[in-house]
Symmetry: C2
Subunit: 388 residues, 2 copies
């Protein structure tokens, strides 16, 4: 059993593209990934595609075959949906199937079109990642849910809005050099603290934007990579997935994400690494507090210590444990169904030094991607390593 | 690599349950499956869940974790969506993962709630299994799409409405002894021919009903079955999946379903069987013409000969090649996201003789399940065999 390689990846610019369809966005990302990989579309044996709100935003379900056609892939296509972790769930299945030896080339990806329906409708569509009967109908929105999680964290471990502001400032700064990022704009801690409140204690700069975009990656077996002489030094060496009750009210704590803890434990054990081995991480910072919870679930910081990581400069580009060098969901943008694969793209390019970020960050050999759905009722964690 | 066993299965009554939520329906089916299997919920390592229109019918996405909680399963849960083949896609991944040796117990299932939104809204929701931009906005509905397919078939191979009526009569008759079927009502060829036209040449009795319901099956590794002394003689020995262009207009023919041909070839090769080995089949007869296309894709009849199979009695209960002994989607009902697993349940109970159908049909050792999404832009085929 050998680990699959990331042969290539592609992403669209993340941002507002209300005039572009989901299939148009995915065609761009998918073709870029195949081109980056040097793998012909005819070699692709399956497409695993992540999408969350196609039914509501584009009146379109059954997007697997649609997206396969968009990239010229004549192979079975399946849509995975685990809210914001949809693409991560697809990556996980691809890793499993490539390892089993049954498949050699799987295209993973995702796309989301959100801005065309406007902020109110997009917020409503995002809300159904929570429990409609017991949360949404009571008025719960995702800023509200993460606001509760932040309040609970502050009460349990300490921390304040200024700590969270440092997460936003960091991720905005990271996005400045990401040519695909939605928000390439430097902000200050004061900007964040003075921004309009969205759901106390979270203000406007604590939340990721609403984003159109797509991402894709070509995953291949080690054998295929060698047989075809591919330049694909990055492997996915660990995969993990965890689940939790969908509704916050059904959990013992609001200030931890046990599904991500489980996914982490499984992924690290699978890869044979531990948190001390991790050089760089992309985590699911849909809100600033989510980054804090994520780095703690990943074991990169002790429980209660993630809150000050950005303020102390540990998670910044030149810190000891850089987190979200892409800008994260916060500043890169969050096209929901694409995010899990966009993380894989970022980390692959960081590890192999192939793209614009070469030389931009400390050398990294082991990377981790953390993708969460809803209030982390779903979570996937993947470990990527570069073969030196 | 050993083939997974179907340790147990459960289904709700299929029909109109507008007052029951999707989670309520799936709890019934999932708990019944675990009980039938004699497998504790704590042993389940993953839930693969099929659902198609939850966003539109229940304002609920992210149903994986919701459904895991409903059956008391504390494990990662992923929703698969391939329109009406959603559950089939989940079964396929479960088979792959169980074979790889990484997992031992996977709960597969699906649920759909449809009648609560009324026929017009359900028809609109079903339509987005087709291409919204190029089919739905032009007025295409699924009865319309399958009407085109039937007209094309008649033109290419011959056949008429009376041939199709015999498919409906057969499946209604089969459903009479299925205690979970939605339409337990005998009909005649005249009834079918005189029923209101829906989309020429398809009348009311050529179409499956709109259905609420759920289905679940516990799939386990052979090792788990043996270690736990389970009475689980039925294995899934072959899996196949095919894909096609989503829109009919992008295909060379309307009278064939090449995605199902591909799924069939793969599944038969995987199982090491051929069409002559098949004793019984459950196929995706969302419309009567769809059963004809299915039995031809499965190689059970030559191209152009499936149309007369029901009329000649070959596919009836006591015919040489019984098809849709459950009543099929046509009479059993079609809760979209559950159908692929409901087929597995029916065939398991037929093969192991455990349920009400024991003695009801000729002895069967090899069965095949055919699940299609949209106009068969997605198709999965599974081969089930009983170990004698």
């Amino acid at each position: 059993m050998s680990d699959p390689r990331v042969a290539g990846a592609g992403v669209t610019d993340f941002g507002e593209h209300p005039e572009r369809t989901g299939r148009d966005l995915f065609a761009e990302a998918g073709l870029a990934a195949l081109d980056d990989a040097g793998v012909p579309a005819d070699d692709v044996e399956a497409l695993y595609f992540g999408n969350f709100m196609g039914e509501l935003a584009e009146h379109q379900g059954h997007q697997g075959p649609l997206m396969a056609e968009a990239v010229g892939v004549n192979a079975p296509a399946t849509r995975f949906e685990a809210a914001c972790a949809s693409a991560g769930a697809g990556v996980r299945q691809a890793v499993k199937n490539l390892r089993s030896g049954e498949d050699d080339v799987i295209l993973v990806g995702g796309a989301e079109r959100m801005t065309n329906i406007g902020t109110a409708a997009a917020t409503d569509a995002l809300a159904i990642a929570a429990d409609d009967l017991y949360e949404v109908r009571a008025g719960m929105t995702f800023p509200g849910a993460y606001g509760l999680m932040a309040r609970s964290y502050f009460a349990e471990y300490g921390g304040n809005r200024e700590d969270l502001a440092h997460v936003a400032v960091k991720n905005h700064e990271h996005a400045l050099v990401n040519e695909h990022a939605q928000l390439r704009k430097e902000i200050t801690v004061e900007d964040a603290l003075e921004a309009p409140m969205v759901a106390d204690p979270l203000g406007l700069y604590d939340a990721c934007p609403i984003t159109d975009g797509a991402a894709a990656a070509v995953l291949v077996s080690e054998e295929y990579a060698e047989d075809h002489g591919l330049d694909a030094p990055v492997s996915i060496t660990g995969t993990g997935q965890g689940g939790d009750n969908l509704a916050l009210q059904d959990r013992p704590h609001f200030d931890q994400t046990p599904a991500a803890d489980e996914a982490t434990d499984e992924a690290y054990a699978d890869a044979g690494v531990g948190p001390d081995d991790v050089d760089v991480a992309e985590v699911h910072d849909c809100f600033t507090i989510a980054e804090v919870l994520a780095v703690e679930s990943l074991g990169l910081f002790e429980r209660g210590e993630g809150i000050t990581a950005a303020r102390e400069g540990v998670t910044t580009r030149h810190g000891a444990m850089p987190v979200n060098l892409s800008g994260g969901l916060k500043a890169k943008g969050h096209p929901v169904g694409a995010t899990g694969v966009a993380q894989i793209a970022t980390l692959t390019w960081l590890l192999d030094g192939s793209h614009q970020r070469a030389g931009d960050v400390p050398e990294a050999d082991v990377a981790v991607a953390h993708n969460a759905g809803g209030t982390a009722a779903s979570a996937t964690v993947h470990v990527l390593e570069v073969k030196s």
